[in-house]
């Protein structure tokens, strides 16, 4: 039988143990938050999301969470003075999801719920991600990437993989990062 090097067996076991503790602890916090707030409270916290036509995979609440996330991740700055709302990245995300296997869609939807209720679950605040002020939201999202919690880091990575890739593929961003565009496009333009 093939065997794993002893060092690695131990290491993996150690990580499993730490992860379990971490997740259990977070689970208790989350469970406590849910119990404390109750179903009706969750509903009130989440509030109303304006309807969005033509979505294939997301609902209006998920779309709104993504809009808020895009504002936090890819803000209009002096360095890149582009309003990300002009790109409607949540709709691109919706189109992407529509062609994904069901289990991936469900996973991503769970991640969006976790993000929306992140302030409650991780910080014990009676508010949601979309309700945070822009500066608070940016700081809250930054904490996901730097968190000791593996799950939060994973959600952060996954969202960055998609949203960053699509955002920086937009032509209007390129002048601000010094990218003259695909070389074939340049040679055609000449």
């Amino acid at each position: 039988m093939p065997s794993t090097p002893p060092e690695e067996s131990a290491r993996e076991g150690l990580f499993s143990f730490l992860s379990r503790r971490r997740f259990l602890k977070a689970g208790v916090v989350a469970g406590g938050a849910i119990l404390g707030v109750g179903g009706g409270g969750l509903l009130a916290l989440r509030g109303h999301a304006p309807s969005v036509k033509g979505l294939r995979a997301l609902d209006a609440h998920e779309y709104r969470t993504l809009q808020s996330l895009v504002e936090a991740m890819l803000p209009k700055t002096d360095a890149v003075p582009i309003d990300p709302a002009s790109m409607d990245l949540p709709r691109a995300f919706d189109a992407f999801l529509a062609d994904e296997p069901k289990h991936n869609v469900e996973d991503l939807q769970k991640a969006l719920v976790l993000i929306e209720f992140g302030p409650l679950v991780f910080e014990g605040r009676l508010t949601t991600f979309s309700r945070l002020a822009p500066a608070e939201r940016a700081e809250h999202w930054r904490a996901w990437a730097l968190s000791d919690n593996l799950l939060r880091r994973q959600v952060s990575i996954a969202m960055r993989k998609f949203l960053n890739l699509v955002y920086f593929d937009h032509q209007e961003v390129w002048p601000y990062i010094g990218y003259p565009g695909p070389s074939m496009m340049r040679s055609t333009a000449r």
Binding site: P2, P5, E7, E8, R11, E12, S19, R20, F23, L24, A26, G27, A30, I34, G39, G40, L42, L43, R46, A72, M73, P75, T77, A79, V80, F96, D99, P101, N104, D107, L108, K110, V113, F117, A138, R142, A145, L146, L150, L151, R153, Q154, V155, I157, A158, M159, K161, N164, L165, Y167, F168, D169, Y176, I177, G178, Y179, P182, S183, M184, M185
Partner: protein, 585 residues
């Protein structure tokens, strides 16, 4: 008789296809085998999950190209999202989306394989002829000086000033115009990839190549006539919409070390070694930021390598140490590798044209596993070993010193939290990097080892002919068979190995009308009491790792169920309440 490329997503597929040989995968391993077998007069069918993306369709744009040229639309990753697993899904396979580096397996590695694993055919004196043939297939040459861009030259300048050994690399481009987007397909086909060399030869010799076909199961693997269950995908490659069966006497699996093992596991084929011993060669990007414009996106992205720290004949592991190689990508993919979002992320990307980046290529010992759950979902488990982390820290420290020596104002190590190095003294801080899971953008471009070649069934998943133990003429002709890292870049060793294994197969089949006439080809199988127990058959539900890798979020470990159960409860409660309140919530 001339063959053809048939895109089954755009026509009514047949119920059945028959051939003497069915090859699964059209990359370096599969394409080479298809060519040699077809040219020898065998009836060959190739199945490729991707489609033929050529010419103007190679748009040099991140979104469309990662979607169409990479497995899981570029989102494949290990179970904990610690390592992005890059794998081609296009006609021509990984050869279409790699950095075109030609690095044959070093003699030290080949000697190591022969001595430690009994792979006598890989001994340098025997394997050399196949490596030379591979170099010929690739039109290998040294990258000309005019194609070494400023970013790679900065790496060279720094290394030279510090007295570190390095070299301008060899490549497989002919007529390169330095368009810079090798990693998302060359629009002028300068790469001598399988798409441009092996497959056209195979087609001329009569091979039929079916694209947008996903092999999901091999049935009757121990019988003379095998049946491969195939799902036909839609034109975008997203959904399965039809099914057919390919019947063949010989099946060659060459779908990369992840997908080859996945197919065998789903089929319940092979012994307990299948899926184990995975090496990923995780690489870490590091970025030198200069005051001057570097424009690394123009020219050959990877042309210079610092080889000072590489060991080619480590007694325990073969290839060891590490190398530092220049690299650059298009804006979208680069932005995904930067550590932070928000204003910090925007500030970092605003320096895109002043970046000179490297990949720290650190070979690893086998420590991963490909698994397929009963549901059919693929999981790539990988534990980064402490010795790998230690060499990675050394590599970061030395790469940072090189860029600073070359004049970088700072060096960004894209870990969480990010590490910015501004002086040679600062570089020591690399020794404190923890490399906890999902805290560094590790990338795997060279997966190997999941169906290890071995002289004895107890030691590996396939024999020295590449035949999967416990089967009759089901073979693996790709990097799945490599027992350890073959090289810092696997294209050349895979082509050479496929040439060698196909040559052996042809030797066994020559002078006969039917391969069944050859006793060596149908070597006696071990009795059922000698064979390891078969795995239970996995359900034929298609499995993706997850286009964003987010599939892994719920599988970060069994321990995460508590977490995600909570999220599930929140979703359920919210939806129930929404419906009760007439959708006003």
């Amino acid at each position: 008789m001339s063959g053809s490329i048939i895109d089954l997503s755009r026509q009514a597929p047949p119920d059945r296809i028959a051939a003497e040989v069915c090859i699964i995968g059209s990359g370096c391993g599969g394409g080479t085998a298809a060519r040699l077998l077809a040219e020898a007069g065998h009836e060959v069918v190739v199945l490729e999950e991707g489609r033929d993306v050529i010419g103007a369709e190679r748009t040099q744009r991140d979104g469309a190209m990662y979607d169409q040229l990479y497995m899981d639309r570029g989102g494949r990753a290990t179970h904990d999202l610690s390592v992005s697993v890059l794998q081609g899904r296009v006609l021509g396979g990984g050869g279409v989306i790699n950095a075109s580096d030609v690095v044959p397996a070093p003699e030290g590695v080949l000697r190591h394989w022969a001595a430690k694993f009994g792979l006598e055919d890989f001994a340098p004196e025997r394997f050399q002829v196949f490596q030379e043939a591979a170099l010929d297939d690739l039109s290998a040459s040294r990258i000309p000086e005019e194609l070494v861009n400023l970013a790679n030259d900065k790496l060279r300048q720094g290394a030279t000033a510090l007295g570190l050994r390095g070299e301008v690399m060899r490549h497989n481009r002919v007529g390169c115009r330095g368009l810079g987007t090798c990693l998302i397909g060359c629009p002028v086909h300068a790469k001598r990839s399988p798409r441009m060399v092996a497959l056209p030869h195979a087609i001329r010799a009569g091979a039929r190549i079916y694209t947008r076909t996903r092999a999901v199961k091999i049935d009757k693997a121990s019988e003379e006539l095998k049946e491969i269950k195939v799902r036909v995908l839609d034109p975008g490659g997203y959904h399965e919409h039809a099914e057919l069966t390919v019947r063949a006497r010989i099946v060659i699996v060459a779908a990369n070390a992840i997908a080859s093992a996945q197919l065998l596991l789903r089929s319940g084929v092979g012994n307990d070694h299948v899926g184990r011993n995975l090496t990923l060669q995780p690489q870490l990007p590091i970025i030198g930021i200069f005051d001057e414009r570097i424009a690394a996106f123009d020219g050959v992205p990877q042309s210079y390598a610092v080889t000072e720290f590489e060991e080619e004949d480590n007694a325990e592991y073969g290839l060891w140490g590490y190398r530092i190689e220049g690299i650059m990508g298009t804006p979208g993919i680069v932005s995904t590798l930067l550590p932070l979002s928000g204003a910090e992320g925007m500030r970092a990307m605003a320096q895109y044209d002043r970046m000179a980046a490297s990949l720290l290529l650190v070979p690893d010992a086998p420590s991963g596993q490909v698994q397929v759950a009963r549901s059919g979902r693929l999981t790539i488990r990988y534990a980064q070993r402490r010795d790998h982390q230690e060499r990675l820290r050394h590599a970061v420290e030395n790469a940072a010193k090189i860029y600073l020596e070359a004049g970088a104002k700072e060096v960004l190590v894209p870990t969480l939290p990010p590490l910015t190095i501004r002086t040679a003294g600062d570089a020591r801080r690399a020794r404190e990097l923890g490399f906890e899971p999902a805290t560094a953008p590790l990338i795997s471009a060279h997966q190997q080892g999941t169906v290890r070649f071995a002289a004895h069934e107890r030691d590996g998943g396939a024999d020295l002919d590449g035949r999967v133990y416990g089967t009759r003429d089901v073979y693996v002709f790709d990097s799945s068979g490599f027992p350890t890292s073959a090289s810092s870049h696997t294209m050349t060793p895979i082509i050479a190995a496929s040439r060698m294994l196909t040559s052996k197969l042809l030797t066994r089949t020559q002078d006969a009308d039917s391969p069944a006439a050859h006793p060596r080809m149908y070597a006696a199988r071990p009795s059922s009491s000698q064979r390891p127990p078969r795995r239970p058959e996995a359900p034929m539900i298609e499995s993706f790792q997850g286009a964003l890798g987010l599939a892994c979020v719920t599988r970060a470990g069994h321990s995460s169920s508590t977490w995600m159960d909570c999220v599930g409860h929140i979703m359920h409660a919210s939806r129930t309440l929404s419906s009760r309140s007439g959708g006003m919530a």
